[in-house]
């Protein structure tokens, strides 16, 4: 690309608009999938190097996420992009941002509650029960609220 290169902070802002394909209310930044953004090389060799980490080993969304990130950067004029995958330290739900937690709740998914009770995302009751250890995606379990009687997805601790 020509002219001045966008600042790394600007790239982070762009990435904050790339939704997760399975939980589109969260961005790849909210999820903690993007670990690092940096410019590498000199002159014409200058390229953007992104380090990302998969959520679950077998998550089918991983390939889509890589594609979406490249497409978003291309839309902003960044063509030379290297995506490096870092497995360690392993991704856990602790990488999900506080903003991500709030967005999940608003969307009707109970955010991961490590060491805390799971709360119904609709009525905030703690009187809930697990229906199924796995839900609509590998990262979620199925719960039911005994107060408002609504079933809901719980983003399980990982």
């Amino acid at each position: 690309m020509n002219g001045t290169l966008p600042q790394v902070a600007t790239v982070w802002e762009w990435l904050a608009d790339v939704p997760d394909p399975e939980i589109p209310v969260l961005s790849v930044v909210d999820l903690g999938i993007v670990r690092d953004v940096a410019w590498c090389g000199d002159g014409a060799e200058r390229e953007l190097r992104l380090t990302i980490t998969p959520t679950y080993s077998g998550c089918p969304a991983t390939a889509v996420i890589e594609h979406d990130i490249r497409a978003a950067l291309r839309a902003h004029g960044v063509e030379r992009v290297t995506l490096a995958v870092a497995l360690a330290p392993p991704w856990t739900t602790d990488w999900i941002s506080a903003a991500g937690h709030a967005k999940l709740r608003e969307y009707g998914i109970a955010p991961p509650a490590r060491g805390r009770p799971v709360l119904c995302p609709r009525c905030t009751s703690a009187d809930v029960g697990e229906i199924s250890r796995f839900g609509s995606t590998p990262c979620k379990a199925l719960y039911r609220c005994n107060s408002c009687l609504e079933p809901f997805d719980y983003f399980k601790c990982h």
Partner: protein, 257 residues
């Protein structure tokens, strides 16, 4: 048919292929349940556990292919090897049978898998360590679920108890192989990249005993133990599993979609 000697790191390739094959073969067996689970929740659970295992298999087989350095890919390893070239332990290839058998197989494997991955997380080989740390978190959840089910079925009805005990008795001879080491394991251990398989036995047995006791099941005593999977000697059902897994890829080699 003799395979040419690997151009790269032979011991590393062999060691990592075994890890990949365990995950791949059990993932394939579990996926046979897709659409046939006893209840919807279990159908989802088995499919998701299978998905985790296939994901882990990809990570291991990608690394094995790189270690080998002969230009093969993870897909080549999964789809273009024959039965005698697979290195999984015999336990994971055992038939699904009834739900008790699938559950007991999963439980015996999960306990071992968790101990193995914990040990490999300390590997001096940073790639092995990273994959092991990643997989261990997933396997922790698999184990919670399979242990729950062993207790529910073992301490359930007379029928479910009898079936679970029978599954435990029938699968027990396949657990001895989990703790055996050979020259490849010894070399990897010596490099600080592998682990001491015999050392996994005590924590494995401790957990198996605790869960089985709660499930009112009797843990069999060790007798004759089957082995050979790590050296490529598999049971008669294994070729059928491979046929189902490999037939599409082999009928249209190189096809992309």
């Amino acid at each position: 048919m003799n395979e040419p000697a690997p151009a790269g790191d032979g011991a590393l390739f062999e060691f990592v292929v075994r890890l990949g094959d365990n995950a791949l073969v059990l993932g394939q067996r579990l996926s046979e349940w897709t659409g046939h689970g006893p209840v919807l929740e279990e159908d989802l659970a088995l499919t998701n556990v299978a998905l985790d295992l296939i994901g882990q298999a990809r990570l291991w087989l990608q690394y094995a292919a790189e270690a080998e350095g002969r230009g093969r890919s993870e897909d080549d390893l999964a789809y273009f090897r024959d039965a005698h070239q697979f290195r999984n332990v015999l336990l994971v290839e055992q038939l699904n049978g009834d739900y008790a058998r699938t559950t007991v197989r999963q439980f015996l494997f999960d306990v071992w898998h968790r101990e193995l991955l914990k040990a490999l997380a300390a590997s001096r080989d940073s790639r092995i360590s990273a994959i092991a740390q990643k997989a261990a978190r997933e396997v922790e959840y698999h184990l919670q679920r399979s242990a729950d089910w062993v207790i529910r079925l073992g301490d359930g009805t007379e029928e479910s108890h009898a079936r679970t005990q029978r599954a435990l008795d029938e699968l027990w001879p396949f657990t001895g192989e989990l703790f055996r080491s050979d020259a490849v394991d010894a070399e990897m251990l010596q490099r600080g990249a592998g682990c001491e398989f015999e050392a996994l036995r005590a924590p494995w047995h401790h957990r198996v005993l605790a869960v089985c006791t709660e499930a009112t099941l009797v843990v069999p005593s060790d007798g004759w133990m089957q082995s050979g999977g790590k050296a490529g000697r598999h049971g008669e059902h294994f070729s059928y599993l491979l046929a189902e897994m490999q037939s599409v890829r082999r009928s249209i080699p190189g096809e992309r979609w």
